[in-house]
């Protein structure tokens, strides 16, 4: 049992936002203050967790003194910690932005409790050690996300988020049936125990494969993997800006994290090249279709939403390469590259949506073709869109440049060269849709006097975009250390 001081952040990451949600509900008049304080302490807990995992390696905690088979188990390994750190820093930026975004009292009172609840569910999902807690966190995440997305209150937003809620429920019920299969076969829900049981009982292959199919298809629906992405663009494009940022950067990522966790840990003996190829083919379709639709989108937020469909697609391209690559530095590099792409997209897409929201507020609309003047009146915001855009394309020195580089290197090394074609085509399309936005920003308007006009709204977007390009690209080395991987530093 590790020191309590070491495992405390593990609990705090989930308990703090949950308490904050309660306080924000009980004290609606001070919801903003409660929200900001909670955001600060939760982000601090996530940093403490990262430091603890950095020093100690994987942390485990069994709550309430029960035996692991019954108790709620939490665990933080390198993959979970990297995503927790990303999610909490992005969430802090979103909170600062949101503190000035909502104007009327009803929206402020509704936003903060739901937002903190969503935050607790996210951290709970990344840190849960058993499949049923994952189900509960998944549902909590889906319900709070749909309620937040509908906060705009207009018809499109409500219709899109109602659809999002129903699709999400279908996904989690399918996942739960898979969990029931696994419990029938192996009598446990703990990820570690299940992984050992699945590896030991090869005669139960059929049940395990059925459970895997159910769970991964349920989650693919939530992760918006092509062709199950249809619900995402309207839901993300019509939500309030801080919510769009959270949905696109974090919530979709959480569903992907679960797929990865199941793929790598639980179902490692069951996964095969055929399943990996199928998922990667859908991923390729997502890259091409999502980027194409982003290029054709008339509105800035719709462009960002379709770009999320494409960026999730890239993450699935890693699966067949992970299957084909034997244990060793090359596989470690591939895993780190996957995390680097996911984390970079988290920062970049959050920054992009926050900046797009500001453009929308200032212009009164977000039709790309008519944004020229507005973009030029907001130089810091336009700069944030450009930075985030360069991370979405994968230009150096962004984190996704290194991620895509390692991905293509390994695709060639394992003889699966066709993914390189998909990546290059996706990158070219991404460059086209980002420059289509930026080209509107350099019209004939007079040069603005100030770089930053509204610090509370502009600085979070700028910082998040900057992290995705500069910090993750130039200083990605620590990620390898955090993941406890040996691979040569990129």
């Amino acid at each position: 049992m590790p020191e309590p001081a070491m495992t405390a952040p593990l609990v705090l990451c989930i308990v703090l936002p949950l308490l904050g949600a309660l306080f924000a509900t009980a004290l609606p008049g001070r919801a903003v203050a409660v929200g900001i304080v909670t955001a600060l302490v939760t982000a601090a807990a996530a940093v403490a967790l990262t430091l603890a995992v950095w020093e100690q390696g994987t942390l485990h905690l069994v709550l309430g003194g029960w035996e692991p088979a019954l108790a709620i188990a939490l665990r933080a390994d390198g993959i979970a910690t990297a995503l927790v750190l990303m999610a909490n820093l992005v969430a802090l930026g979103i909170s600062v932005y949101a503190s000035g975004y909502f104007q009327d009292a009803i929206r402020i009172r509704s936003f903060w409790p739901l937002w903190l609840l969503l935050w607790a569910a996210l951290n709970g999902l990344f840190l849960a050690g058993d499949l049923f807690n994952l189900y509960v966190m998944l549902e909590l995440l889906g319900i709070s996300a749909a309620a937040l997305g509908a906060l705009t209150g207009n018809r499109e937003a409500i219709a899109a988020n109602l659809r999002y809620l129903l699709v999400g429920l279908l996904g989690s019920i399918t996942y739960l049936l898979g969990v029931a299969f696994l419990y029938t076969a192996h009598g446990s829900l703990d990820i570690g125990i299940l992984a050992a049981a699945i590896a030991a009982n090869e005669q139960l292959f059929a049940v395990d494969a059925a459970a895997m199919t159910l769970m991964i298809s349920g989650l693919a629906l939530k992760a918006a993997l092509f062709p199950l992405h249809f619900w995402l663009p309207p839901a993300h494009a019509n939500a309030p800006a801080p919510v769009s940022a959270a949905l696109s950067a974090l919530v979709v990522k959480a569903a992907f994290y679960l797929i990865l966790r199941l793929w790598l840990d639980v179902f490692a003996p069951v996964t095969g090249m055929a399943a990996a190829m199928l998922l990667a083919l859908l991923g390729s379709a997502a890259v091409l279709w999502g980027s194409w639709r982003a290029l054709r989108a008339a509105r800035l937020k719709l462009l960002a939403a379709y770009s999320t469909v494409a960026q999730i697609g890239y993450l699935f391209l890693f699966l067949p390469l992970l299957v084909a690559t034997p244990e060793g530095p090359a596989r470690d590099n591939l895993l780190a590259a996957l995390l680097l792409m996911a984390v970079t997209h988290g920062f970049a897409k959050a920054g992009f949506f926050l900046a797009a929201g500001l453009v929308q507020t200032n212009a009164g609309h977000d039709r790309i073709d008519e944004l020229g003047g507005t973009a030029q009146r907001l130089p810091a915001t336009t700069f944030a869109i450009a930075l985030a855009g360069s991370a979405l394309i994968g230009l150096p020195p962004s984190g996704s440049f290194i991620g895509k580089w390692l991905l293509m290197q390994q695709a060639i090394a394992t003889g699966q060269w066709w993914w390189v074609v998909v990546i290059l085509a996706g990158t070219a399309l991404a460059a086209a849709y980002v420059f289509r936005v930026l080209s509107r920003a350099f019209g004939l308007e007079p040069t603005p006097l100030r770089f930053i006009t509204d610090p509370r709204a502009e600085v979070p977007a700028l910082v998040l975009a900057l992290v995705s390009v500069a910090v993750l690209g130039l200083a990605s080395g620590p990620l390898w250390t955090l993941l406890g991987l040996s691979g040569a530093d990129a």
Partner: protein, 94 residues
């Protein structure tokens, strides 16, 4: 054993029927009911799993899962219905 298989099999059938109905029917209320039937199917399977013969007490873990699942299903249904009601209101206004 036969009872357990019948119960679990019925659960699976409910699951499939629920998904079919969810995908085929357009009205919101039918979709919500279909989702609840899908959920009930999964709960049936879990309850069948918990049965350990007439002599032994049932396994409490699947029962706990079903209870939690019911709470989640009720809250999600409530949210879906309130969003649906809002949608209807905005249609009436227009």
């Amino acid at each position: 054993m036969t009872a357990q298989l019948l119960y679990g099999g019925a659960g699976l059938m409910l699951f499939v029927l629920g998904i079919w109905s969810f995908l085929v029917h357009e009205p919101l209320l039918r979709k919500v009911i279909a989702l609840n039937i899908t959920g009930a199917g999964v709960f049936h399977v879990l309850i069948a799993v918990a049965y350990r013969g007439d002599a032994a007490p049932p396994d409490p873990v699947p029962h706990a899962l079903v209870l939690t699942g019911i709470v989640v299903a009720v809250s999600a249904t409530a949210l879906a219905l309130i969003l649906g009601a809002r949608l209807q209101d905005s249609d009436d206004d227009a």
